[in-house]
């Protein structure tokens, strides 16, 4: 009697697991498109910088960083238009994609959360960037809110993108996408929060160099350093997890559709 119950329970569990897996692949098989779209947007934003890959000796950086990262941009207005036009366009295209999929498959994903988060945080960025800042005259240099530099550094269109990717991960129930969004956010906060871009504090330089005595004593031996990579490389690093995800999910979706 007990063995029979066990056999039946095991069979039911296996059948439910198979059903769950099949439904998951069908319902969330469309996540490759928004992931790829965001990756393309990130990579395309390289074109907003004057020297996206080539090394340069002098830079003029304006805040807010409308291009995304604190580096010399070709034209702040073009950067502004790029993010504030292309992001809503991408979200609208993704919305159309999900609507088409729900019509053809009969399965809906919580994509409005993704679109709402992306647009909401982008709007918040526009509002925060429009807040008047107190300017201080120091000798011959004009500084804008020097005490709040760290916070001002976070006024970048890359954070709405990171938030949208995290929301997409939640909507698509994908831990990989959530991690990819977190990765974009961490890189953005680090690169935009401290100047120069790619700055490493003393303890981090010690850690990377394997010199742990400074870390243990609480007094870093190094004065710090800088990862001298250009914006194009950082943007490629941000987009890489999304491209990988899109390739894997696209392949899984194609295999499921072709009955594999």
């Amino acid at each position: 009697m007990d063995q029979a119950s066990k056999g039946q329970a095991t069979q039911t569990l296996a059948e439910l697991e198979r059903l769950r897996r099949r439904t998951r692949i069908r319902a969330h098989g469309g996540a490759w498109l928004p992931a790829l779209g965001i990756a393309v947007l990130l990579l395309a934003s390289s074109a907003l910088y004057r020297h996206p890959f080539a090394a340069t000796h002098s830079l003029s950086v304006d805040s807010p960083y409308w291009a995304g990262l604190p580096d010399e941009q070709r034209d702040p207005l073009a950067s502004y238009v790029f993010w504030f036009l292309c992001t809503p366009l991408l979200l609208a295209a993704v919305g159309a994609w999900y609507r088409w999929r729900s019509r053809s498959l009969g399965l809906r994903v919580a994509w409005p959360l993704f679109a709402g988060t992306g647009l909401g945080v982008l709007l918040l960025l526009a509002v925060l960037a429009a807040v008047p800042t107190q300017q201080q005259q120091q000798s011959d240099t004009l500084n804008s809110s020097p005490d709040h530099f760290w916070l001002a550094g976070l006024l970048t269109p890359l954070l709405p993108i990171a938030a949208a990717v995290v929301a997409l991960g939640w909507a698509e129930r994908s831990r990989s996408l959530t991690i990819a969004g977190g990765w974009i956010a961490i890189l953005t906060v680090w690169l935009c929060g401290w100047l120069p871009m790619g700055y490493l504090p003393g303890w981090a330089t010690d850690l990377l160099g394997g010199d742990l005595t400074g870390l243990v004593n609480g007094t870093p031996n190094s004065l710090g350093g800088q990862v001298g990579w250009r914006p194009g490389i950082w943007l490629t690093l941000m987009a890489l997890p999304l491209v990988t995800f899109a390739a894997i999910r696209g392949w899984q979706s194609w295999r499921a559709a072709s009955g594999g």
Binding site: T12, L19, S102
Partner: protein, 98 residues
């Protein structure tokens, strides 16, 4: 079958009646009967609307439905592990016997 319905719905925000029917290979009447019972128990929500001009019935798992599915799967897993433990103990006592 009701567990299967809840499982499919747990993997998506909403699912149409026809998709669920095809997925579980049920007839309209049979699926309707199960859905009515699940709806009465507040385990799922039925939303009627239009997809273009075509009337469509969307089904959504409620919070209680999700909790009930989790509890049911946990109970099944517990049953399997309990029977496995019992048979292992039985085998051990057989081997120990002189």
């Amino acid at each position: 079958m009701r567990l299967a319905i809840l499982t499919v719905l747990s993997e998506t925000r909403e699912c149409t009646f026809s998709t669920l029917r095809d997925e579980l290979k049920l007839t309209d009447g049979n699926l309707n009967r199960h859905l009515r019972i699940l709806e009465q128990a507040s385990l799922l929500q039925v939303v009627k609307g239009y997809e273009g001009r075509r009337p469509t019935t969307w089904l959504r798992l409620t919070r209680q439905g999700r909790a009930a599915l989790r509890a049911e799967i946990a109970a099944l897993e517990q049953l399997v592990s309990r029977v496995r433990d019992a048979s292992t103990a039985h085998l051990d006592s057989d081997t120990d016997a002189p």
